[in-house]
């Protein structure tokens, strides 16, 4: 089959690789129809995530048709259309039983789980196409993919609903939703969202649906801010205004009740702390650049909530622990428990309460995936989301 493979920093190529096979009873093979490039794929593209190997197939936002089902799967049938959660979860361990699917104890192969146990204290769950830290599973920017525990994860999509309406159930829509849910929104709340990429924009939509009085979205790309505005947010361009001061003034001196860092480890901006972070990362003194997280913690009101869907991977320098403790902030974070949210969000999509298609700026054939990465990386104002199609688009 054809698949997008990672070869090194800023070097991805579509190559011919072996087809995946059913190896465990609960596996299924999916023939992919649509597959997206995620903002977090850019962390791989930039080689900010460790434990990548040349030849790894990327992609964790994908959907398609079931073409083969293992003997242990009593749920899926060949021919069904499914969206597959990026988190690989068994459904039976302590964590899955608590619906903390992104903490599944079983999906990371035993030999691969050592690395994250050393890095984070406990082994992390498996995920598609996201380094050997999360299992070394082949991703879905390909014609076919093997899906483990396929009786638990994939959600069956009724015929007649376009791929583009439901594809983002795989990651970014539940991620934006969980980011807003983690804000523990109360009536009258103002929620501030840093980053108007796909997750940030879905967090804006979700926070309003979950009852926020007001959402303030922060970015520096005019087009992305326009999209946030069209979803109902007030907007701030950090290149033009002092963000913390603006937020204090706009909330009558109280500050935002909840703040979402939808940016993560590769913050933009030319503030002094970020320039220093760049320098430290370049010489290996720190791994993550947490400029936004610092601003989030400083801007959040006393007793407020901080939600971190943005991806971090290692160590951050100059973390404002004093502001966090003295203000009594609550932090909620984590990779998304996708399986917990897919059915509810599919319902909201079919009821036309959530639209996801506005996000897609580019549709490309899989063969042009490398171009997709390049433009998503380099033209962030215009390229809001790239969806790859395995069949020729008409």
């Amino acid at each position: 089959m054809r698949a997008l493979t990672w070869q090194g920093k800023h070097d991805v190529r579509v190559e011919t690789v072996p087809d995946p096979q059913i190896v465990n009873p609960r596996d299924a093979i999916i023939e992919i129809t649509s597959t997206a490039i995620c903002g977090s794929d850019l962390h791989l593209y930039d080689h900010y995530i460790p434990r990548m190997k040349a030849g790894d197939i990327l992609g964790h936002e994908f959907m398609g048709r079931v073409v083969e089902v293992g003997p242990g799967n009593k749920r899926l049938q060949v021919g069904q259309r499914v969206v597959v959660p990026f988190v690989i979860a068994c459904g039976q361990c302590f964590f899955c039983q608590k619906q903390q699917f992104a903490a599944c104890d079983n999906s990371n192969p035993a030999d691969k789980a050592d690395m994250s146990e050393i890095a984070y204290g406990y082994p992390m769950t498996g995920a598609f196409g996201y380094s050997h830290l999360t299992g070394g599973y082949a991703g879905g920017q390909a014609e076919y993919v093997r899906v483990p525990y396929s009786d638990i994860g994939p959600i069956v999509i009724p015929e007649g609903i376009d791929d583009d309406k439901v594809l983002f159930l795989s990651d970014i829509l539940p991620t934006g939703w969980m980011a807003a849910e983690n804000c523990l929104i109360e009536p009258g709340d103002t929620v501030a969202v840093w980053g108007c990429g796909p997750v940030g924009l879905f967090a804006v939509q979700s926070a309003l649906l979950l009852g926020a009085e007001r959402v303030i979205a922060i970015d520096h790309h005019p087009h992305r801010l326009e999209l946030a505005k069209s979803l109902g947010a007030d907007i701030l361009n950090y290149e033009e205004v002092n963000v913390r001061e603006a937020l204090v003034e706009m909330t009558g001196g109280i500050g935002p009740d909840a703040c979402i860092d939808a940016v993560g480890m590769e913050s933009h901006g030319m503030s002094i702390d970020n320039v220093l972070d760049h320098a430290k990362a370049a010489v290996g003194l720190a791994t993550d650049r947490p400029h936004v997280l610092r601003q989030v913690i400083m801007a959040c009101r006393k007793g407020g909530r901080v939600s971190i869907p943005g991806v971090y991977g290692g160590m951050a320098d100059k973390f404002p622990i004093g502001a966090l403790m003295e203000k009594g902030l609550t932090i909620k974070s984590g990779q998304t428990h996708v399986q917990k949210y897919t059915q509810k969000l599919l319902d909201l999509i079919t009821e036309d309460k959530i639209d996801t298609t506005f996000l897609i700026s580019h549709r490309l054939p899989l063969e042009e995936a490398a171009t997709g990465y390049k433009i998503f990386k380099e033209q962030q104002n215009d390229v809001t989301k790239v969806v790859l199609k395995t069949k020729v688009v008409h």
């Binding site: 089959m1 698949a3 493979t5 070869q7 190529r13 190559e15 690789v17 072996p18 087809d19 995946p20 096979q21 190896v23 465990n24 009873p25 609960r26 190997k53 040349a54 030849g55 790894d56 197939i57 242990g72 068994c90 459904g91 039976q92 361990c93 302590f94 039983q97 104890d105 079983n106 999906s107 990371n108 192969p109 035993a110 030999d111 691969k112 789980a113 050592d114 146990e117 082994p123 498996g126 299992g135 070394g136 599973y137 082949a138 390909a142 093997r146 483990p148 525990y149």
Partner: protein, 192 residues
């Protein structure tokens, strides 16, 4: 074989900073001091009885213990173990179950002729809050110097605990999900 460490610690022996020394002290058997002691606990969301039954059927262990080539049952307490070693070699020994409490504990010791003297126990306890069973495996083995020592070091990987924790992860996967997670190329995870 002792498991608890000292009057001032409720932690298992394997968490001791000098586990073999602690084992020697607790048991009063000075000779244990030159042994290696490793251990690991996992919570498995299955009933104690089921896990005990699977483990007590010793040939089953080869299904999740990577280095075991075969386990042959000789009689109710004796078994013959064939374990993979580097360069296609194998190490073999006989083991005797010296203590068994149904659904709670299995303890074994290698016979005097074993080239790698070893002893171990696996304990099954109800986990709190209906979380299933806490399984603790503790293994004590002689770590001689010389060629054999090097071979054993390879057998147990960089640090001795690595193999034990990987094996217990696989045991948990098999018991909870009915399969062992893999992303082995090319079939399970194609790559360029």
């Amino acid at each position: 074989m002792p498991t608890r460490t000292s009057p001032t610690n409720d932690a298992p022996l394997s968490a001791n900073r000098r586990p073999a020394k602690a084992a020697a002290q607790v048991s009063g058997e000075d000779s244990l001091e030159k042994f290696e002691l490793i251990g690991r606990t996992v919570t498995i969301a299955r009933p104690r009885e089921e896990l005990f039954r699977f483990w007590r059927d010793l040939p089953n262990l080869a299904s999740f213990m990577e280095n075991i080539e075969s386990i042959r049952v000789l009689d109710n307490t004796r078994s013959h173990w064939v374990v993979k070693a580097p360069a296609g070699q194998t190490v073999e020994w006989d083991a005797i179950i010296d203590e068994e409490r149904p659904n709670e504990l299995i303890s074994w010791t290698s016979t005097a002729e074993a080239s790698i003297k070893n002893a171990g126990r696996v304990e099954f306890r109800d986990a709190p809050g209906g979380r299933g069973t806490q399984v603790t495996a503790t293994i004590l083995y002689d770590a001689p110097g010389g060629t054999l020592g090097k071979l054993i070091a390879k057998l147990f990987q960089r640090e001795p605990n690595v193999q034990a924790r990987r094996d217990l992860r696989r045991f948990k996967q098999l018991m909870e999900t009915g399969e062992i997670a893999t992303a082995e190329p090319p079939a399970a995870a194609p790559r360029a």
